[in-house]
């Protein structure tokens, strides 16, 4: 079954950056024999598909419930989401939202950490608490006939985490060890260095969601309790319920979710979008001695976008680096063989975040790969997508909508993501309509606005390789993003 596949079985294509959304017949000379296969098929038009819109159930003293019934498999996913995540971490305490989430799993209600874990497992359920940049969530997936006892456990975790000192004493050092390990993961290093360079550590988007060893060391259990009390509140939460459960049942079970859940003190303000980052330095280098590959990550500040501009940007990123046949992948992988995959994207956050394009390239071809990467970005900024590329991206985005909403767990997660950003339940349906309206001019404007051709190149690799590949000033940083003085 699914758990049996050995991880990392070599596959054909595994892009570094995966986007959120996602003729002629050659004939030989002479009299050709009849082709038994026949010509390339002509296809019927596709069936239209609109992303489903959940019903919003409003009950007194209960957060809004977004409900989508799915009878296909006997499974239910429930997500409780609040619109506060790592962006709400106080300065110097990066990682607080993530540690709060982790500590919510370490015992709740009548059960300590191990008892809670066992209770979830006895139901065959999964329950995780996670923090992102803009939101935190508890996610439960369980077979439908075990929903009710599972919901009781979820309610404990949301409203009655124990936050015991003994659990904190266990959790914090293991978390720090994990962060130290990340310093050896080139993708993670490039990612966090890029954010530090664009935003600075104290900006809501400038620090890693999981924190850094020093900032996590500064977090106390009192900070964790205060973060939970302030931000995990029913008046700011949304509950998403997807799967084999009808509305009557949801209405019956809903109150149990929030019983006695309302902390003292005032509600925190609804989060607002931050200002865009200023332009970063041209080149930031992180040394990795004798690295067989050079990690290249180009980033540029994201901008606040209208719904129309967002739709156009999503489409042009598909063309640039969001599909196998994207510009970057065809050039760096399929034409040159420099990399296993190249991609681009722009994660959707509440405020303007960043544009990114990346590839891990063979160390020996670093100079040529940077030139090709920059060349493709400049050409795309100047010309935008071709009409055929725009239609290809539209087809890909339409198809991606169908797949996003195929599974119960993925659907619940998607809807929770919309709720966390303050978007309406039909946001994906609206976005789908907006994409259909994007014309060639709008796509050209979106391509020109990415700004990646003049972005910051974060380069992780061997020092002599970097020295040879880059002319002009280089800002040197360590694997955690701290400035390194010149030798």
């Amino acid at each position: 079954m699914t758990s049996k596949k050995k991880p990392a079985s070599p596959g054909r294509w595994w892009p570094l950056a995966v986007l959120a959304v996602l003729i002629t017949l050659a004939v030989g000379c002479g009299a050709p024999p009849v082709d038994r296969l026949g010509p390339r098929p002509t296809l019927a038009p596709p069936t239209a598909y609109t992303p489903p819109v959940p019903t919003v159930i409003a009950l007194p003293r209960v957060p809004p419930i977004w409900h989508l019934q799915r009878a296909s498999v006997p499974l239910v996913s429930v997500v409780v989401v609040v619109p506060y995540g790592a962006a709400a971490d106080p300065p110097g305490k990066a990682g607080l939202a993530a540690l709060t989430a982790e500590m919510m799993e370490q015992g709740a209600g009548p059960r300590g950490a191990l008892a809670l874990g066992r209770a979830v497992e006895r139901l065959g359920a999964t329950m995780t608490v996670t923090a992102g940049a803009d939101a935190s969530r508890v996610s439960l997936t369980v077979l439908a006939d075990r929903l009710e006892p599972a919901l009781a456990l979820l309610a404990d975790v949301v409203a009655r985490p124990r936050f015991e000192p003994a659990e904190w004493a266990r959790t914090q050092p293991v978390w720090i060890d994990g962060l130290r390990s990340l310093a050896y993961d080139v993708g993670a290093v490039a990612d966090r260095v890029a954010d530090v360079c664009l935003f600075g550590l104290d900006h809501p988007y400038g620090h890693p969601i999981d924190g850094l060893p020093a900032t996590v060391s500064a977090v106390t259990l009192a900070d964790v309790k205060a973060f939970h009390a302030r931000y995990w509140r029913p008046e700011r939460a949304t509950v998403v319920v997807v799967g084999a459960v009808d509305e009557t049942t949801v209405r019956r079970l809903a109150p149990s979710l929030v019983l006695q859940w309302a902390g003292p003190g005032e509600s925190p303000p609804w989060p607002t979008a931050t200002a865009p980052a200023p332009p970063g330095p041209p080149v930031v280098a992180v040394e990795r001695p004798d690295s067989p590959q050079t990690m290249l990550l180009l980033v540029a500040p994201g901008q606040a976008l209208s719904a129309e501009a967002q739709a156009a940007q999503d489409l042009v990123h598909l063309v640039l680096g969001g599909m196998f046949t994207s510009r970057l992948n065809l050039k760096l992988r399929e034409e040159k063989g420099y990399t296993y995959g190249a991609g681009s994207g722009a994660p959707h956050l509440r405020g303007p975040y960043r544009q990114e394009a990346s590839a891990a390239v063979q160390a020996e071809v670093t100079v040529a790969a940077i030139a090709d990467l920059r060349g493709e970005l400049a050409r795309f900024a100047a010309d935008g997508p071709t009409p055929a590329e725009l239609e290809k991206a539209r087809a890909a985005a339409r198809a991606a909508d169908v797949e996003i909403y195929e599974g119960v767990e993925a659907t619940a997660s998607r809807l929770a993501g919309l709720a966390a950003l303050g978007l309406p339940p039909d946001a994906d349906a609206q976005a789908a309509r907006a994409r259909e309206q994007v014309d060639a001019a709008a796509a050209r404007r979106a391509a020109a606005a990415l700004g990646l051709e003049r972005g910051t190149l974060v380069i992780v690799g061997d020092a002599p390789t970097i020295q040879a590949a880059v002319t002009g000033p280089i800002e040197r940083r360590d694997a955690e993003g701290a400035l390194v003085s010149e030798r």
């Binding site: 598909y49 296909s72 191990l114 497992e121 006895r122 359920a125 050092p173 060890d177 390990s181 590959q293």
Partner: protein, 436 residues
């Protein structure tokens, strides 16, 4: 105790993968699974060839060949396979294991004729269309895949070293699927053509179509597009050789260095083959040991002592014989000797003490993954093809689940003690490189 009773009373989910089956005269076996809820279709074409079938001196070739399958034919020139598919909203990928090479595409339902046509075209014509330029290009891509996922990833070297420790030199699994740079570099166009001739005929393939489709229409389409392709050779795969560990692996722990922060100790044993007696028990054991916070090894080594920052256990099921792999990564301040001693002690204690509650929790998790793992049409297509490959019965899913539900603590312990015998396993240590 109340939890145990509750779990025992809960009904297991009904589970089935209904399908329409037929076989073409050239040997191609076909299944059609209908699910019209969404306008989606998945095509999964599996060839019974993997790294176990590579000729001497050509490690990594089966996977390199997988990449070459996308490099174009006379009908669909280089680049067209992906371009035509993506223009219609479909996408594709492929993977190679020791035993199989699987090609799949997922797209809007209207793309089915194109998805099948592209597969039929390359099944018929690919071998003669590969030249040195195509081979060189994908060789570079694959070597970069090796660099990215193995050489430049923390602990990635484990994948390179473990096979030789667990499988003896004459075993088809002795080398890693990704292969060596030297062997990848040595591959020739003639190798490509011979491999295609030997392994890529319809008689060695199974095709599954799943989604919003009409079985009769799919059958007609498949017969027209694939039926004319010559049967090709019927490859013979040798039986599994003996399963003794390489002697050196038992007596000498292997130590490698990598760019990592802390030591990791990996223990690996030869274990029952996929679907063989004991395979499911070892799967359940892996969940008991390391799945979740209350799992035995996590509780002992991460939560209790604490000497590890993470633990892992897995039964890596394969046709000719599996590996059971356990590892722990050290906490700062714990050295590899102390970690290994603690891991071995915790493992022995876990097997000694595992109880019915452990087994029931693990079985509940497998029940859930049988449902979540079969939600999408592409997952169902892949699983049907997996069941065709082994145990050879596409209706196996309910019996597959029953393998887990029939287990109890005594049985899991009995299998575990037989497989994880002292002196029967290999030890691999990954140590941090000295800082430079």
């Amino acid at each position: 105790m109340a939890g145990l009773l509750l779990a025992a009373l809960l009904a297991a989910p009904p589970i089935a993968l209904p399908h329409h089956a037929f076989r073409l005269d050239n040997g191609l076996q076909v299944l059609v699974h209908v699910d019209a809820r969404l306008p989606l279709v998945a095509v999964d074409l599996s060839y019974r060839v993997g790294s176990a079938d590579e000729p001497p001196g050509r490690t990594g070739f089966a996977h390199l060949f997988e990449h070459l399958m996308f490099m174009g034919t006379a009908r669909a020139p280089r680049g067209a396979f992906d371009a035509w598919m993506e223009a219609e909203g479909a996408w594709n990928n492929a993977w190679t294991s020791e035993d199989r090479t699987d090609y799949y595409a997922v797209g809007p339902a209207h793309t089915l004729p194109l998805l099948l046509w592209l597969e039929a075209d390359r099944m018929a014509a690919l071998g003669g269309q590969i030249d040195a330029a195509k081979l060189d290009l994908q060789r570079d891509v694959v070597r970069n895949e090796r660099r990215q996922n193995v050489e430049n990833t923390p602990y990635g070297l484990v994948d390179l070293h473990l096979p030789a420790l667990v499988f003896p030199p004459d075993h088809p699994y002795h080398h890693p699927v990704i292969g060596s740079h030297e062997d990848l570099q040595a591959a020739t166009v003639a190798d490509v053509q011979a491999f295609f001739q030997d392994w890529y005929g319809p008689a060695n393939a199974t095709l599954v179509v799943a989604g919003a489709v009409e079985p009769a229409a799919v059958e007609a389409l498949v017969r027209q597009q694939f039926g004319w392709i010559p049967r090709g050779r019927a490859p013979v795969r040798p039986p599994a050789p003996r399963r003794a560990l390489p002697a050196a692996a038992v007596t000498t722990p292997r130590t490698v260095t990598d760019r990592v922060d802390q030591p990791r100790v990996i223990l690996a044993w030869p274990s029952p083959a996929e679907f063989a007696e004991g395979d499911a028990a070892m799967d359940v054991l892996s969940a008991i040991l390391a799945n979740g916070k209350s799992s035995r090894l996590h509780q002992a080594l991460v939560y209790g002592r604490p000497v590890a920052q993470d633990v892992y256990a897995g039964q890596w099921s394969r046709r000719l014989g599996s590996q059971f792999v356990v590892w722990a990564t050290a906490r700062a301040g714990t050295d590899a000797d102390a970690l290994e001693a603690a891991l071995r002690e915790a493992l022995a204690a876990a097997i000694e003490r595992l109880d019915e509650d452990d087994v029931q929790r693990a079985v509940r998790a497998f029940e859930r993954t049988f449902v979540t793992g079969l939600e999408s049409v592409s997952d169902r297509a892949a699983q049907l093809n997996a069941y065709l490959a082994a145990p050879g019965d596409p209706d196996y899913v309910a019996r597959d689940l029953a393998r887990y539900q029939g287990l109890n603590a005594a049985r899991v312990r009995e299998v575990a003690q037989a497989v994880l015998r002292p002196g029967a396993g290999a030890t691999l240590r990954v140590l941090p490189e000295a800082s430079r």
